[in-house]
């Protein structure tokens, strides 16, 4: 076992699911996922389209409600009313609080179009977390400096490039001081030449030892940056483990097949 892996295994669990299922009517998208992410771990979630990887990620901050199973965030069980065809949140306040700890970065950035970059960043800390406005402002400005957007502080989202918008969205998540960052295909909506600037920000965050779960199609990023791969296949865990070992091949036939297919389509 490598030093990093040994260190991680002693870390507390950040997010844990047990038997997590999600169905839409007759169609079952997630068929029982047992998964634990430890604090400080960077997990890349891979899988073909329709494998349930985005649904799984969205379940982790309750944008989708699981149909069955359990979800623990930092040891705290999320209270849900399951068992019917219409799952509900049992404790709205708990979920609102946990969502500020498990921040989400979306594929389509989803910045609020009527607010400037700075206003986007300050919104949740001030109005949800009730933090001091002047302090949040200072912090927002320093986060924007980190992601290289100091010159666009007062711009509106529509005035930014896709890469800039996604960096602003990442900054918006960071200002909430979340304990986990979720990324839902953060570079899939970007022009190829803008992907790099977003991946660089994510690389820096990973190097800081942040807990990150990333649904992605960036194979090189998954291999080089994450501590673990979670490979989903038709709503189940197809394979998981150390990225270097998995990508070396021979561990899981299905994962090898997925990577091969991916590379073929990339060449084409």
């Amino acid at each position: 076992m490598s030093v990093i892996a040994a260190e991680l295994s002693t870390q507390a669990s950040a997010i844990a699911t047990l038997g997590l299922r999600k169905s839409y009517g007759e169609i079952e998208v997630l068929k029982g996922i047992d998964f634990t992410a430890r604090e400080g771990e960077v997990v890349s979630i891979l899988g073909a389209s329709g494998s349930g990887k985005s649904t799984f990620l969205r379940c982790l901050n309750l944008l989708e409600l699981p149909s069955a199973g359990s979800l623990d965030i930092f040891g705290e069980r999320v209270k849900l009313r399951l068992g019917t065809s219409d799952p509900r949140i049992a404790d709205r306040k708990q979920v609102d609080r946990l969502r500020t700890e498990v921040a989400m970065v979306f594929q389509n950035f989803c910045l609020w179009s009527h607010m400037t970059v700075l206003e986007n960043l300050m919104e949740a800390p001030v109005h949800v977390q009730g933090r001091n406005q002047a302090e949040v402002r200072e912090e927002a400005l320093s986060v924007l400096e980190r992601v290289g957007l100091t010159h666009r502080v007062n711009a509106y989202p529509a005035q930014l490039s896709g890469g800039q918008q996604q960096r602003a969205a990442i900054a918006r998540a960071l200002v909430m001081k979340p304990r986990v960052l979720l990324f839902d295909e953060p570079t899939s909506a970007l022009d190829p030449e803008l992907v790099g600037e977003v991946l660089k920000v994510m690389r820096d965050l990973a190097a800081e030892g942040r807990t990150m779960l990333i649904v992605t199609h960036e194979m090189a990023f998954a291999r080089d940056v994450s501590n673990r791969i979670l490979f989903l296949e038709e709503g189940r865990i197809g394979a998981q483990g150390d990225p270097q070992k998995l990508f070396a091949g021979g561990v899981s036939d299905r994962f090898d097949q997925f990577v091969r297919r991916f590379n073929e389509s990339a060449v084409r």
Partner: protein, 230 residues
């Protein structure tokens, strides 16, 4: 051209401006509040509420305002129970009947404007709010409504102008607002063309001011799209 006469007409018509504005404003305020109720009913989870909301919109949008004014002013008085009720002191006054008819009418259109504006709010911006821990009133106040207002404002500006012009119909039930004064002047002078020309110009001035006000507000609210204007 008889400038003295035109000036005289203009000054007399000015006396009707306060009533015209009053009728518009009262109807718009009451109508807007009713519209919020109607729009919520029309998008309710319960079928009965949805039905009531949609029926209200269809009825008041689908019949002429003049017919509505007649029905309320002349029609309600024929219901015996109403004449004994506490509402009668209001409903026998043309002033309150006019406001009621105008308010009901604008509430139907405004409910549709509200519904459309809320539907036009991008789902992903609401989702981003949820993902940051917003819910309930906070989410509406900070994300949904500010975006919806920006969507609905231009259309609502037209509705305000329509309402101001619609007050002219209330002259039929004896209200002496701008058009009512014009009628009176015509019956004593028979100078139809000049009087209605001045009346029209006065309405145009008022609606132009409303237009201007709305485009100023819009400009302010649409700063986030300012770069697209050129």
């Amino acid at each position: 051209m008889d400038w003295d006469f035109l000036t005289d007409v203009f000054q007399q018509l000015l006396g009707g401006v306060p009533l015209t504005l009053q009728l518009s404003l009262m109807a718009l305020v009451a109508g807007f509040m009713l519209a919020i109720v109607i729009a919520s009913a029309a998008s309710s989870r319960y079928r009965l509420f949805r039905w009531i909301g949609n029926a209200h919109v269809e009825i008041f949008r689908g019949t002429p305002l003049l017919v509505q004014i007649f029905l309320i002013y002349y029609g309600l008085g024929q219901i015996p129970g109403l004449r004994q009720s506490v509402l009668w002191p209001f409903l026998r006054e043309p002033y309150w009947c006019a406001i009621l008819a105008l308010a009901l009418n604008t509430s139907a259109y405004t409910a549709e404007i509200i519904r459309g504006a809320l539907q036009a709010v991008p789902a992903n911006e609401i989702e981003a709010g949820r993902a940051c821990g917003m819910s309930g009133l906070l989410l509406r106040r900070r994300v949904t409504w500010p975006i919806a207002i920006r969507q609905g404002l231009p259309v609502y500006g037209s509705e305000v102008i329509l309402m101001l012009k619609a007050t002219s119909l209330t002259s039929i039930i004896t209200l002496i607002e701008m058009t009512g004064i014009a009628h009176k002047l015509i019956s004593s002078t028979y100078r139809v063309m000049e009087i209605f020309a001045v009346t029209g110009a006065l309405y145009l001035t008022l609606t132009f001011l409303i237009s201007l006000a709305f485009s100023l507000i819009e400009r302010r609210l649409q700063r986030h799209l300012a770069h697209r204007r050129n």
